[in-house]
Symmetry: C2
Subunit: 415 residues, 2 copies
């Protein structure tokens, strides 16, 4: 399968990928739906006439929610048509006039949040991450909470503070407890961290309150995946999180990559689901493979200095699948909307260089993480840029996710 649009070697965006995003340009500030191909964006509104008329409203929207709501069969059809349009010899290939308006250089676009995120949920589905954190805070014998292997632990996050890659994130002020039993202090966060995550957007028509979504139905409700950095103020979190969970330590900003990679593009990279013991309750079981070999890495780039890859992990480390996450999320009747975002939780592997946070990499600040050029880190410093990348690779094709990046701004003093 070959596109007439040039796709450089090692591009994240070959014709087998076709991720969706929302973009604008300097010349045209309208938010528009696009598909990334090589070093270009295909403006879906500009080529809508090639798609059935019932999809036109969705394709000319300013967000992906209407397309997400059309459902699984429509996504397949839209993808098939887009792929055909970009093949050598297509109608678009023959129409250089249309190409000049419909194919926009990636270098000239600004990317926006791909969807209006109605609700954002963060799971905690990496067994290595949960075990690491458990060992640090409760010791080896009680590392995993008793519920952890019975249900995908998760919590509701803040939707408003989800931002798109490139937005700077400000180091927060907050309350922390210097020593157990002492009085809390107030000041800038000292243990500022990234969390390597992936997240998926929910699609399909809205469900009703009181309706459960089975794992089988869930398979048709995962629209696509993005990379995520769930920035975390560790010291603030530790003080605030009992008994109702993380709050201001997390709602300071959550960054996602702008390109939503459809599940269809990830099919060739499916791997066995993570073995689960004990077997979960029937409502969480599924035969279908819904785990993916997605190589992930995190770079830290200080304001002055080279970029260092501090973590190499993989999506396949997740114990709970997206289908199980959806089935559990709705088991008590929670309703879903297209555009809801569900994140994996920090994705750590079992090797010490595969841990998805500084908390784990520096083992709670007990050791330095070396950067190229002589610097080192226990947690993030001001002006550090954190860049998350992800891709799938087989003999033939590389499916990439682009980047999810953000710079840590210094805390803003009180006036």
């Amino acid at each position: 399968m070959k596109s007439f649009v040039t796709v450089p070697e090692n591009s994240d965006f070959p014709i087998q990928n076709l991720p969706y995003g929302v973009f604008s340009t300097k010349e045209d500030s309208r938010h528009r739906l696009g598909v990334a191909i090589g070093e270009h964006v295909l403006d879906l509104g500009a080529v809508k006439s090639f798609y059935p008329v019932q999809f036109h409203d969705a394709l000319t929207s300013t967000v992906l929610n209407p397309l997400m709501s059309l459902g699984y069969e429509a996504w397949s059809e839209v993808r098939r048509i887009t792929q055909n349009l970009l093949l050598e010899g297509s109608e678009l290939h023959k129409n250089t006039n249309l190409q000049s308006t419909a194919l926009v250089p990636l270098s000239s676009v600004q990317m926006h949040l791909p969807a209006n995120i109605g609700d954002y949920t963060d799971f905690y589905s990496s067994i290595h991450h949960a075990t690491n954190v458990g060992i640090m805070f409760r010791g080896k014998d009680n590392a995993l909470m008793p519920n952890w292997k019975h249900l995908p632990v998760g919590y509701h996050g803040r939707a408003s503070s989800v931002v798109v890659s490139g937005a700077p994130i400000r180091r927060p002020f907050g309350q922390t407890l210097p020593v157990d039993g002492a009085d809390p202090v107030f000041g800038p966060c000292r243990l500022f961290d990234f969390e390597l995550e992936m997240a998926f957007f929910v699609g399909g028509s809205p469900t009703e309150l009181g309706e459960r979504v089975t794992t089988e139905e869930a398979a048709k409700r995962v629209f696509g995946f993005v990379l995520m950095n769930d920035w975390s103020a560790r010291d603030i979190q530790k003080w605030e999180y009992v008994p109702l969970g993380p709050f201001t330590a997390k709602n300071l900003g959550t960054t996602i990559s702008p390109w939503v990679v459809p599940v269809a593009a990830l099919e060739p990279y499916k791997v066995e689901n993570f073995p689960q013991e004990p077997q979960p309750f029937p409502y969480l079981r599924h035969e279908q493979k819904f785990n993916f070999d997605i190589k992930l890495e995190v770079d830290i780039k200080p304001a002055k200095g080279a970029s260092t890859t501090v973590c190499r992990s993989n999506y396949k480390n997740l114990y709970w699948t997206a289908l199980q996450q959806i089935a559990h999320h709705t088991v008590t009747g929670c309703n879903l909307n297209p555009g809801d975002l569900m994140a994996s939780g920090t994705i750590s592997g079992d090797a010490s260089d595969s841990f998805g946070s500084m908390l784990e990499l520096s083992w709670k600040g007990t050791k330095q993480v070396q950067l190229l050029g002589g610097e080192s880190r226990k947690f993030l410093q001001d002006n550090d840029e954190v860049v998350i990348r992800g891709h799938c690779q087989n003999d033939d094709v590389r499916i990439g996710f682009g980047t999810c990046s953000g710079v840590v701004l210094p805390a803003k003093p009180f006036e």
Copy 2:
């Protein structure tokens, strides 16, 4: 101050109240903004010509978000004009034609969610409730967590599952742990509960990520209050909530009353803020009174049988004010949007008949709560209706909140 619209004695909606809601009628299914007056709704779109033109878009919207976003000064002006319109001798009083379209009988309207709720946050701000729950689960000596008096503990809730009064709520299925150390079981929730809460809608223009809102600024961002029932599956919550907080035990449904009572209507009922010891950090301090004497009660009405008031509480029992809740919510930089909903947490007083949940009223199921007609309850049973009411009262005026009600439907078996 007297309206030309008849206001029966003990009405919740005298001319001093003027709460906002969104309604439709059988004849006209469009969602419209209205103000309750006596036994009528004033259709704001129908009288928009009396308001400055810059408010017309907000007044003809299908939700309150645009009005909320206009900000404090605009709310005052809209309220002043509405009040004048409803006074004896007003232009509307003289125009019986207009009255016939603009004044809709309350009995003929269907109420809807008043706003698109971008994010919903639930606090835990009643010291009596937090102490009660603490005693039950951790004993008297460790009842309040160490952080509780230093910051308004809260967590992000699920916005999609907030519904308006009248919507039935289905008893959920979920995982519970029958005995510590045993295997979890899966089945219908056995400890289904209400939580008596109040909540406010955030107004003003959206804030930027990284921006803090001071307690002083917060005073101009509270649009108005509603009653809330934060339905809770206690047994499911107990098993799932460590370490990241309540999740599926809460997202099965949260009911709010349809009429948003403006803060201006509550001014005469302001009381001293709850005494705070230790003094909180400066970012949480404020001199301004922002506590309210709002009498609250909860009735349970079995499918067959009379209604029994099982709880009489008061909003003034809250330790943390709404201004402190907003300042804390944004201290790490979380951005706010008009239409965000922030709830108080269960409002319990110190008397045993003022506890705001069955968990407390039955003291963890150790005693029966007697209902009129001989029935009793430890937790809610199928087909029980829970009705929350609230009002302020002084010598002159009663400001009511209407009702917040819902029936418990039986659990839906798995096929």
